[in-house]
């Protein structure tokens, strides 16, 4: 279930477990064969995918051009940072710029859904990508914006240097926790419920009086803003911003990772998906250059065989185990776990 049927406490068990694992990552990462930078990347992509799934999994709007907003966030942060090195202001600018871009794009496509919507997102994505390459004097063209220094965060009593991957990881992790807490509430709110209603039956939602255009516009903008946050963080991490995140290729990444994880059926789908994606990239990428090909084939296989993704498979296993111990468990009840 994309939402928990019995109501949503502010924090639940799954979240606490996840937060514990997340916050302790630097402690156990190397013993698991992982490294610090990887943790940062994963956390950033989880933010990106969670925001994206509001649009795809909850509202059913397939955006194939979302990389544009990640890119706008990255460039906005980078440009701001060169002038005013302040992390939080920079991230705020990234969020605002990306949100603004998404808001403008959404004006053109909020009355659509399905294939027309998807094609328009591709068109806009290509336009942003094209502009980011062409407008060299702003974006540095194909070479990108480089040498974005990782700054210090100054609190009155102490300052934290983000050059250290560990400090950066904690910055991203805390933001990720905030995003999870906020989005968890949003999806259980009237807005979040309306999103799902629109996905299931836009016509009926309209006839029930919902301002569908406005809701679609809002979720697109929100999703873009969150992508902007991820983009800003990406810029800090990579110390640069490149046009390629805006390519159709890269926009496809977030679609694939969200769905393989189980974005259609679970709040946590995108989280699982982002983790799987980055790990796949590193693990498979270690023994073959063609890891993306295998990942793409995996995506196709998932769409054909198990569109509910990893979480869907997990739930089926759980249901079967429960069915074996508790007699016949009705399928609808078994599917409604909070995970």
């Amino acid at each position: 279930m994309l939402t928990s049927p019995r109501g949503a406490p502010l924090v639940n068990v799954q979240m606490l477990i996840f937060f514990a694992v997340l916050l302790s990552y630097p402690l156990w990462a190397s013993s698991a064969g992982l490294y610090q930078y990887l943790g940062v990347e994963i956390a950033i992509f989880v933010i990106y995918a969670l925001g994206f799934n509001l649009l795809l999994g909850y509202t059913g709007l397939p955006s194939f051009g979302h990389g544009a907003f990640l890119g706008v966030g990255a460039y906005a942060y980078g440009l701001w940072q060169s002038a005013f090195p302040n992390v939080f202001a920079g991230l705020l600018i990234a969020i605002v710029c990306a949100g603004l871009s998404a808001g403008i794009v959404a004006l053109f496509l909020s009355h659509r859904r399905g294939i027309y919507f998807a094609l328009m997102t591709i068109a806009f994505g290509q336009i942003f990508w094209f502009l980011s390459i062409k407008l060299r004097w702003i974006t540095g063209g194909e070479d990108g914006l480089l040498n974005i220094l990782r700054p210090e965060i100054d609190f009155r009593f102490t300052s934290i240097n983000l050059s250290s991957n560990v400090s950066l990881f904690y910055l991203v992790a805390i933001l990720l926790i905030a995003v999870i807490l906020i989005l968890w509430r949003v999806v259980h709110s009237p807005f979040g419920t309306a999103l799902q209603a629109i996905r299931m039956n836009e016509t009926r939602a309209r006839f029930a009086g919902h301002r569908v255009w406005l809701i679609k516009w809002s979720v697109f903008t929100l999703s873009g803003a969150i992508a902007g946050l991820a983009g800003g963080l990406l810029c800090i991490t990579q110390e640069s911003a490149y046009p390629d995140v805006m390519s159709l290729h890269a926009s496809g990444f977030v679609v694939m990772m969200t769905l393989i994880g189980g974005g259609f059926v679970s709040f946590w789908g995108p989280v699982v998906g982002a983790i799987v994606f980055i790990l796949a990239r590193d693990v498979i990428g270690a023994w073959t250059e063609t890891w993306l090909l295998w990942y793409g084939l995996l995506f196709m296989a998932v769409m054909i065989v198990e569109p509910e993704g990893v979480v869907g498979v997990w739930r089926r296993i759980e249901a079967r185990l429960k069915g074996k111990t508790a007699g016949v468990a009705p399928v609808s009840a078994a599917k409604r776990e909070a995970v």
């Binding site: 294939i115 027309y116 094609l119 328009m120 336009i127 063609t290 054909i304």
Partner: protein
């Protein structure tokens, strides 16, 4: 008068582009109307056609003995024609394969088919990138159709004239096939009402597979002709899918006239923008798509379809 003269080569370019776009769109619209699938991988088939043709012309096995060197000694023109015949066949086979993979999503939510063809497009692009690399490739064209000539004081590209003529020829062939052959009649019937076709005892799955292959072959041919103008990179696939879709929206789904008219319109728009700002001409295609989809969805000749979800 001078202004008009300056414009003529670009008009010609636009017309050539337009006719080839129409060819891509025809394949696309046949697939859409017989199967109600939007094949986002259509452009990848376009690109693959060009790459496969390139391989047929220059297989690169020049040291593998008598057969190899004999083949390479054949004139480029002959090898080009061989490529023009066989590459589309290869693409048609790839099309068959793609259709079989897509079958699983037929009953389910529309989004799955869309996402699946999107995945296929990425996979195909990745395969292309793997085999041939990300750099720009070059599809050799025979001297007879390369170069330039002068007419009325303006320089025209021979190739573009050839492309335009080929486009006209191909469209006429497709029209003849659809209108004058029994197979064409079956395809048209399927496009109109697939259930009826099944009721008439025609094997619908086989028809769908063949239509997909046919549409793919058309895309492949268009790729062979168009990429010497556009350039051949793995990314060129999406640049071909967008106009196909744009044309369908403008010209209406399942409409032959619509595909041709829409194709010419889009081609002219792109060609003419190319007159003023060549880099930005592809961008004009995307802007046109956005403009059309923002305001209009039925197109010039089409009717409401299942696409309007």
């Amino acid at each position: 008068m001078d202004f008009l003269n300056n414009l003529l080569p670009h008009l010609l370019n636009g017309l050539a582009l337009g006719l080839l776009f129409a060819l891509i769109a025809l394949g696309f619209t046949l697939i859409v109307s017989v199967m109600e699938i939007i094949n986002l991988a259509h452009g990848s088939l376009f690109a693959l056609g060009a790459y496969v043709a390139m391989v047929i012309i220059n297989p690169g096995f020049t040291d593998s003995g008598a057969l190899g060197s004999y083949y390479m000694s054949l004139p480029l023109g002959l090898r080009y024609v061989i490529a023009l015949v066989f590459a589309p066949i290869v693409i048609a086979i790839v099309g068959f394969g793609l259709e079989i993979i897509l079958r699983r999503t037929y009953g389910k939510k529309k989004e799955y088919g869309l996402l699946l063809t999107f995945g296929a497009a990425l996979v195909l692009e990745e395969i292309i990138r793997l085999i041939w690399g990300p750099a720009e490739q070059f599809l050799p064209t025979p001297d007879a159709i390369s170069g330039a000539f002068i007419a009325h004081g303006m320089i025209y590209s021979t190739y573009r004239v050839y492309a335009m003529c080929f486009g006209i020829f191909a469209i006429i062939m497709v029209w003849l096939f659809l209108e004058k052959t029994p197979y064409g009649a079956i395809i048209k019937a399927g496009a109109h009402d697939s259930e009826m076709v099944r009721a008439l005892g025609i094997n619908l799955p086989r028809l769908q597979m063949l239509v997909f292959g046919f549409g793919a072959a058309l895309a492949g041919i268009a790729g062979i002709i168009l990429t010497p103008i556009w350039g051949l990179r793995p990314h060129v696939g999406i640049d071909a899918t967008i106009p196909a879709f744009l044309i369908i929206v403008l010209g209406g789904i399942g409409s032959f006239k619509g595909a041709v008219t829409g194709g010419i319109l889009v081609g002219l728009a792109v060609g003419l923008t190319g007159a003023y700002a060549s880099d930005w001409s592809l961008l004009s295609m995307y802007l046109l798509l956005i403009a059309v989809l923002t305001f209009r969805s039925r197109g010039l000749f089409g009717k409401k379809t299942a696409l309007e979800a």
